[in-house]
Symmetry: C2
Subunit: 334 residues, 2 copies
């Protein structure tokens, strides 16, 4: 079915049909002509292709997602899952450009999405951090997902609630009856570093336990970092430890085992992230706090579409739920 | 810069300008008129938007990637990385639709990609398996990545070379001086199940070692499966084992440790996949064979663009390189 057949049926030129389809306001077309064309279109079941429809409606059926490594790094892929599911509910499909930090690619990807008239763009990072906002991104409706602008009040954003998560992690140990609880924080600067420490402090305060800075250690946030912190942890003489992330806890498991200790009997351990292929499969399975990647992606889409509040003044925070497994005994002695 | 300004400069109607831009062959436009319009376009620096350019050139600057869970599952994300890098070298950007097996979404995603005139489509799965080819996919140039059609000769495909990988894994142990080598295969049917077993057999045969079916066990391909296979493995009285994948090896590490055994001294262990966040971080770091996800993505793009041979008769196979770490001692006694 082509433009030509519509034109022939309506008795006009193809150029006229094109002008009608594109609803050009200042095209000099008689109402009666416009009517004939519209009826011919309906009669023939002519369906302009998606690009023509886009020209008419103003936006395509796409929502763009520009990510640095969300699709390739084995950590935050659920952001895509959540965004896709939510978009689909509202008739949109997600088009993803995964840039690996290549700024030229990022610029071109955003430009293409704008030219193809996406409904809006989600800009996402694979871990929670501040980000510059590319200039061209501001030509679209956009929401930052798992990241935020360091210039407060300039970009709508949705991030995990690190402090609430840190409090939840510490609470798991408090519920297990522990009161002297160590925290192995990351050495790397990040919103999670400050947030998770704040949550640890908030939980202790709520339980009436004085904060002891000597119980806070630091290590690189992976298995080797956790393993390397074992001796310092043992010297603290605590029976419970909250690790900045699951990978650190995995390394600590090895270190504790090498020292002849059992988890949770000799040391209760809590992680953070609920990282797939790790947390549930350690022995014993690791109690932890989940990063709500799926919910972040879904919230990003709802904020973009105006279904959820999206204030400029500060990032929306999504709660990090506790996941209790087998690395913290219940009601063990302090 | 608009169509209208070009029309005014050239002294023609906007409809005429549109017809010139779209290079409609049967539009009755005098050569002299066409010339005036072209000059006006050049003079004004008018740049039709991407959609108009697409109408002219026939395809957009996109290559589509339709994946079931490559972007969301923490395993094969490097397929996207490789495809993106290769596409970018040739002036294309990758647009990803991650469907999680939702067939309606898959149909719509392919339809949208066709309507937006992608150069071609890569259809990918997060693990190597046979796949039905959606009917609409056949309207485009397409290549199956990490999957293949069970109807031989009907679709171009690129997959990992499981047999060569299995042979490489076994060879790591043979080089370590072992001759009685167990293989813990998966229980789940998959090309990898047959391929990796074949590779194990090929390696033994090349080394002049008779194949002993009693040395082949089966377990679920994750940590719990590997852990559960420990007793059966110990009863074989071997000093070396090749595990179907790294997750299984991780569980086996726990089982061997609980039995007071050291790796590699008491048991040399080799995995498969080189799974990020696991293989390199076990203690000792796990020798394994890499699934070439990045290369699969890149090869898919090159095959799509006609830069690499892409025969219909059988899938192209990409080699799986060995990654030797610390779980196999060198020249230990058989």
């Amino acid at each position: 079915m082509t433009l030509r057949e519509v034109a022939e049926l309506a008795g006009v030129s193809t150029a006229t049909v094109s002008l009608v389809i594109n609803k050009k306001k200042n095209a000099r077309i008689a109402d009666e002509t416009r009517q004939r064309v519209t009826e011919a279109i309906a009669q023939l079941g002519y369906r302009p292709n998606a690009m023509a429809k886009t020209l008419v409606s103003g936006t395509s059926k796409f929502i763009g997602l520009v990510a640095d490594g969300v699709a390739t790094t084995p950590f935050a892929g659920q952001i895509i899952h959540g965004a896709q599911d939510e978009a689909w509910k509202h008739g949109y499909a997600l088009l993803i450009a995964n840039t690996e930090g290549n700024q030229d690619l990022e610029k071109d990807a955003i430009a293409m999405m704008l030219e193809y008239k996406v409904r809006g763009i989600l800009y996402s990072t694979w871990f929670h951090r501040p980000t510059d906002v590319p200039e061209t991104l501001r030509e679209a409706d956009f929401v930052l997902v798992n990241c935020f602008s360091p210039e407060a009040g300039t970009a709508r954003a949705v991030v995990p609630d690190e402090a609430q998560g840190g409090q939840s992690a510490t609470d798991i140990l408090l519920r297990g009856g522990h009161r002297r609880i160590a925290f192995i924080n990351t050495t790397t600067p990040a919103p999670a570093k400050d947030g998770r420490l704040q949550g640890y402090k908030d939980a202790l305060e709520a339980a009436g336990i004085p904060f002891d800075p000597d119980l806070v250690l630091e290590a690189y946030p992976d298995q080797e970092g956790g393993y390397g912190a074992t001796q310092d942890l043992l010297e603290l003489g605590v029976g419970a430890v909250y690790c900045y992330n699951d990978r650190m806890a995995m390394g600590l498991y090895d270190g504790l085992r090498e020292n002849g200790l059992s988890i949770p009997e000799d040391m209760a351990v809590v992680g953070f992230d609920n990282q797939e292929v790790i947390a549930a499969h350690l022995r014993p399975p690791l109690s932890t706090v989940s990063l709500p990647h799926y919910e972040l992606g879904a919230a990003g889409v709802r904020m973009l579409l105006g279904l959820d509040a999206a204030p400029l003044e500060s990032a929306v925070k999504i709660a990090c739920p506790a996941v209790e497994r087998g690395s913290v005994a219940v009601h063990s002695p302090a």
